[in-house]
């Protein structure tokens, strides 16, 4: 057996590893490709033929060193222009965890890509250049992570080798960022001083920064909690599909298939069906081949009920006493993701969990500038990459949670009924983009600092 086989023998039995979805935000200039390349490379996820292809392509373009960005830039236009157009998904694993990385471009015009990558991420890595510190783009990335409610944010202060690995430089940037992101509501921030190029604190601890006592980027990715006590969450089950075999073997089987969107459900629990408001009791939960007493997010299951009531795709099951209210008026923060604009008065489709309803855009109260979080009242329309507030009236009642309470049942899409284009990604309820009177701080005379 070769050494590599021994090294990887542990992967042969990784049935107990968990999965972490994370996103990276930062521009090429911050060294994002190098960081991603190093994570992939040092976790042995870049294989010989991929490296050879990158080397060949780099040579063809007259570059001397293999350009790691070519690992992630998959489309011809991207390679020709040396930019990243779209979210690229990357996969790697260590003995402790499997990772899905949404690698998102950091340029201003690609806000929608960052929003897309962050929407499914449990962790976001925001990259800054130690020489430049927190810049407008950093604030934009922090704002997107906060808006999308990504539970963990890592601030990777890169290029520490170019500031002599000086702790005060790192400390000042970390403090500024942490203050800013905390104000936006980011619940957990971990700052790590790194040099992606030299390899400090990416995978291996840095000998150059013995003043830093925290984890490397990879260590943090491997150990950050991906699951928590779901019994404390509001349980939500959007019905996807009704399973009725009507066969000789299963003449009376009727199960409601779906993926638990939040919390946990138990056999014996009393549930409410929304929007009808009918109630019943869970008599069985089939978890893809085995009967279980309890199931939780994000498991795909089939739930059976005591009563034969009318339930179909688009309905929502929730515990009696902990059901969301239904409403036809939706107020939300949206990120506009299409090239065609979204205007007041526009007729759209709204897709929320497994339910799609007709809707009309009643108001666009404000547009937000991500750089300084300033509000622009009544813009009339939103264009690509805009973030703003909308008020939407739906043709049917929706059981919508606040996005702050549940990412999966508080999110929705606005779709153009004419051609099916996804227009906007919506987050119901309040956010820091909600218009509020900004207190003006007056200079107080008589104080002498």
């Amino acid at each position: 057996m070769s050494t590599s086989t021994e090294q990887f023998a542990e992967f042969a039995d990784v049935s107990a590893t968990t999965l972490l979805r994370f996103a990276t935000a930062g521009s090429v200039d911050d060294g994002k490709s190098t960081l991603v390349g190093r994570l992939l490379h040092d976790s042995k996820s870049v294989l010989t033929d991929q490296l050879e292809a990158v080397e060949a392509a780099s040579l063809k373009r007259g570059q001397e060193a293999p350009d790691l960005a070519l690992l992630t830039d998959g489309l011809r236009a991207e390679r020709e222009q040396g930019i990243t157009i779209d979210v690229a998904y990357r996969y790697f694993a260590t003995a402790r965890r499997r990772f899905i990385l949404a690698d998102t471009p950091g340029h201003v015009q690609y806000t929608r890509n960052m929003v897309t990558g962050a929407s499914t991420a449990e962790l976001a890595v925001v990259l800054v250049d130690a020489r430049n510190g927190v810049v407008e783009q950093t604030r934009r990335h922090a704002a997107v992570a906060a808006l999308l409610r990504v539970p963990h944010v890592v601030l990777a202060v890169n290029k520490m080798d170019l500031v002599e690995y000086a702790e005060p430089v790192f400390a000042a940037i970390a403090e500024e960022f942490t203050t800013y992101a905390s104000e936006l509501g980011v619940p957990e921030i971990t700052a790590i001083p790194i040099s992606a190029l030299a390899g400090d604190n990416v995978v291996e601890p840095s000998a150059n920064m013995d003043w830093y006592g925290g984890p490397t980027v990879l260590e943090h990715l491997e150990t950050v909690p991906v699951s928590h006590d779901l019994t404390a969450c509001h349980a939500r089950f959007p019905v996807q599909y009704v399973i009725r075999p009507q066969t000789a073997e299963h003449p009376d089987y009727r199960g409601y298939a779906g993926q638990i969107a939040a919390g946990a459900f138990r056999v014996g629990e009393e549930i409410t069906v929304l929007p009808s408001g009918r109630t019943s009791t869970i008599t069985g939960i089939d978890a893809l081949g085995e009967s279980v007493d309890i199931a939780w997010a994000p498991q795909s299951v089939t739930i059976r009920l005591a009563d034969d009531i009318d339930i179909s795709r688009g309905d929502l099951l929730a515990p009696v006493g902990d059901a969301p209210t239904t409403s036809q008026d939706v107020e939300a923060t949206v990120c506009h993701v299409a090239d065609q604009p979204l205007a007041v008065g526009q007729r759209v489709l709204l897709k929320h969990t497994t339910r799609t309803v007709k809707a009309i855009v009643k108001e666009i109260p404000s547009r937000l500038t991500l750089d300084d979080l300033s509000q622009h009242p009544n813009p009339g329309q939103l264009v690509a990459n805009d973030i703003g507030r909308v008020v939407v009236r739906t043709a049917e009642p929706l059981a919508l949670d606040a996005y702050a309470d549940s990412r999966r049942t508080g999110s929705f899409l606005l779709i153009d009924p004419a051609d099916g284009t996804t227009l906007a990604a919506g987050m119901a309820g309040e956010s820091f983009a909600t218009t509020k009177a900004v207190a003006v701080v007056e200079d107080e005379e008589g104080w002498d600092f």
């Binding site: 023998a9 042969a12 010989t48 992630t72 236009a77 993926q259 795909s300 899409l413």
Partner: protein, 311 residues
Amino acid sequence: MTTVVNVHEATDSPFALSHLDSLESEAVHIFREVAGEFERPVILFSGGKDSIVMLHLALKAFAPAPVPFTLLHVDTGHNFPEVLDYRDRAVARHGLRLHVASVQDYIDAGKLRERPDGTRNPLQTVPLTEAIQQHRFDAVFGGGRRDEEKARAKERVFSLRDEFSQWDPRRQRPELWQLYNGRHAPGEHVRVFPLSNWTELDVWQYIAREGIELPEIYFAHEREVFARNGMWLTAGEWGGPKDTETVEKRLIRYRTVGDMSCTGAVDSDATTLDAVIAEIAASRLTERGATRADDKMSEAAMEDRKREGYF
């Protein structure tokens, strides 16, 4: 200012799901989404491991009811007999309906021309596109994974195709949360990739965990092969070996299964699932890099073929 985090064990919570459970749950959700939103879905089924895993997931998603989809195989005419046999047995066992679109029929009718290199994979696009139009399929499940190739890394789970089956990477809809937008005009269809987030290793680990039977050619066996473009190819009527190529008997297995003319075998003594998994985990080559001539054609080969309607 140093941030110290408490180091948790990755699986400390009773609510932690294993990575295979997470991926399975996501794939099942995708199958059920399509069943709920489309009229005429079809699964591309070749008898290869990815399509076998897809079928297994679909069976689990709708049990105890039957799978509400038909199957479609685009047969190049150069498929391994073991794989076709497996395909037919799987169809019979689960009482499914299989459509076959045959590249050979198109060649015989003069609608397609054999390529000089004998490779038929690129010829699959027309029969596939026409089968989709003829049967009016509106959702087509493919076993494609984003880890396979750079252009695929940018692919959506729900990938809209026009009436010519073309893929325009610039016109892809952003895909957020787990909200898949499958709206399409008549004549258009959506390609759906339930295994988008799986890796080759995940697929094998899942096959092992679920005890899924595979065609024998995935395991080490003695076979008459010859070398071409740095790959071991199976000798056969499809166009090999040439006079300059010598056939030899070797212990090999296939990492992927496709058209005989461009699917290479690897030297291997892995006769069990565990041995295969250990071998893949230790491999320094990607699945396609090791075994597929067709992806090596050019830096943008896959992107070009996807644009034309290839899976």
